[in-house]
Symmetry: C2
Subunit: 333 residues, 2 copies
């Protein structure tokens, strides 16, 4: 894109979101003085229209999702957000209205989570809208909660409710005429449907849970489906999950949908986009963890335990019987 055009666009839509370190987005780079004694936690996620969101999604929710998925990673590492850099590859048909709504949505999330824009780049693409965000957070030295350090005997917890976004995606596909409307959609109230779609469109990073997560031995955010992510954490830690999936916390809407269509169960625990936190907590820290979590107002639920690598992976299902997940997809024995 022509240099002056890009500069105008940055000045108009992005500079108002810049924190002090962003230098008004008028320099080649941002400047950040890390909090003394802290270490930096860095994460980057890319989102592509038609892959990670629908091109027709509201621009403010696209922005909220792009930043939210990165903030979710920071939260899972018990890091406090410091700021983010954004690169945007804009398709040729962008409009001022679109960018205005996009930057508004971005600013709302940035402001809510005290995570100012530090810099980035705006380019043209002949392809779909492509966003890439790098988010920076801070932890006290040594305090980052890893994914790889769950130990046998730890309890496995998950935050919030699981499966809402997976159902929201099905409803959103139906809204856009990309798939037939699911039968279970009809037994939900309009408000329940709206909640599910909202959880798909706009992840709510669990930043509030950070003080409690400092008691965890390992954590990650649940973005690719609970079962797959639990397995990923166990693999990274050299361990096995033994969990009762029937304990997985469900929202009223998801419970209602599941009652109407019991086959949805696999979708709930294997679908993605939850952006909840999965963590392992040593038994002696469990009381403190639950107490701290309760103070934050974010519900947490114990699902099972971490077993040694030589043990059997166990996922108990609805009837207390063992469930089999091939390629992280649900199939009944």
């Amino acid at each position: 894109m022509p240099q002056r055009r890009e500069q105008d666009l940055i000045a108009r839509y992005f500079a108002p979101l810049a924190g002090p370190g962003g230098l008004g987005l008028r320099d080649d780079a941002a400047l950040l003085a890390p909090p003394p004694g802290s270490e930096l936690v860095l994460t980057a996620d890319a989102l592509v229209a038609g892959v990670h969101f629908f091109g027709a999604d509201p621009p403010d929710t696209i922005a909220a999702k792009a930043l939210g998925v990165n903030l979710s990673d920071l939260a899972a590492k018990a890091a406090d957000p410091l700021g983010f850099l954004l690169t945007v590859a804009l398709p040729r048909d962008w409009t001022d209205e679109w960018l205005e709504a996009f930057s508004r949505g971005l600013g709302e999330v940035a402001s809510k989570f005290h995570c100012p824009l530090l810099g980035g780049d705006t380019v043209a693409t002949p392809g779909p809208l492509t966003l890439s965000i790098t988010a920076l957070g801070a932890v006290a030295a040594g305090a980052m909660v890893r994914r790889t350090t769950a130990s046998p005997g730890d309890l496995l917890y998950v935050s919030g409710t699981i499966g809402d976004a997976a159902l929201g995606l099905i409803l959103r596909q139906a809204e856009l005429g990309e798939a037939p409307a699911p039968g279970w959609g009809e037994i939900l109230s309009p408000r329940q449907r709206e909640m599910l779609v909202g959880r798909y469109l706009s992840p709510q990073p669990r930043q509030k849970l950070v003080p409690a997560l400092r008691a965890a031995s390992a954590a990650m955010d649940v973005s690719d489906g609970l079962v797959g992510d639990m397995r990923a954490m166990m693999r990274a830690s050299g361990a096995r999950a033994q969990a009762d999936l029937w304990q997985v916390p469900l929202s009223d809407a998801a419970s209602t949908a599941l009652a109407g269509d019991p086959a949805l169960f696999g979708r709930l625990v294997c679908g993605g986009d939850d952006y909840e936190i999965l963590c392992a907590v040593p038994p002696e820290a469990a009381t403190a963890f639950e107490f701290l979590a309760r103070q934050t107002g974010v519900p947490v639920t114990a699902l099972g335990v971490v077993a040694a690598a030589g043990e059997r992976e166990i996922f108990l299902g609805p009837d207390g019987d063992s469930q089999n997940f091939v390629n992280d997809r649900f199939s009944h024995f």
Copy 2:
């Protein structure tokens, strides 16, 4: 892209490039302990196939360019590289051979500039290959060289030679059959042509110049054409450039081409992709700057002075007469 597929790809091609802070790319985030007393310099650039490079370019040079343009920004801020995060949106037709060459090229530049991979994301796209890199550097507190702080009376310097990449782009377009071969191409030796194309494909970040740049009052890298970037620095600093463009340093190849086609002059000083450094140096620091630059082996050339905002912008051309640049494109009075 399926979770396991992405993990395999990361483990195979990217994990070998990860620095200690990258945690083997097996966690959700990277961990970086900034050097004590330092501030962080952060920059992000996105590159799209068909826009910033040709999809048919060698994968190792695509990687070298993506990282190189970010390292060039760090160098212009007098920052030492700490590491980078990379997001890759891969088109459906990617191959293992392509990714192998890409990661090799990336690793070579990362290793040469002591800038390890810290993290990132790999996703699928229905569109063209899209790369986004966030690079982090460190400066002593307060030592970042800004773009916005050139002062009237400062001398304007540029590093290396200008215009090679702009000519290299023309030759590359001809190689790919996207444009006719230029007449001046025939008076160049094969080696000269190769040098010019090489400068387009693989920028050489001027990291070596960092010790000298600490004597500068303002700096930026030359990526969008010398005239446009000089104007951008002056605008950001509230000043005017008064420069003798006939002093612009040219390579033998560019001089030969210009002798064959004098109309190329505007292209040389307005074309992009130079990735040289433009800086303003207070007169009292000029001797130290030139001395330090000479020690690094990177040539620097004085082109003119920074004038006050009320003064006239002056760009002297080949015959000592004034040149007019409308929209940063060259036109003779």
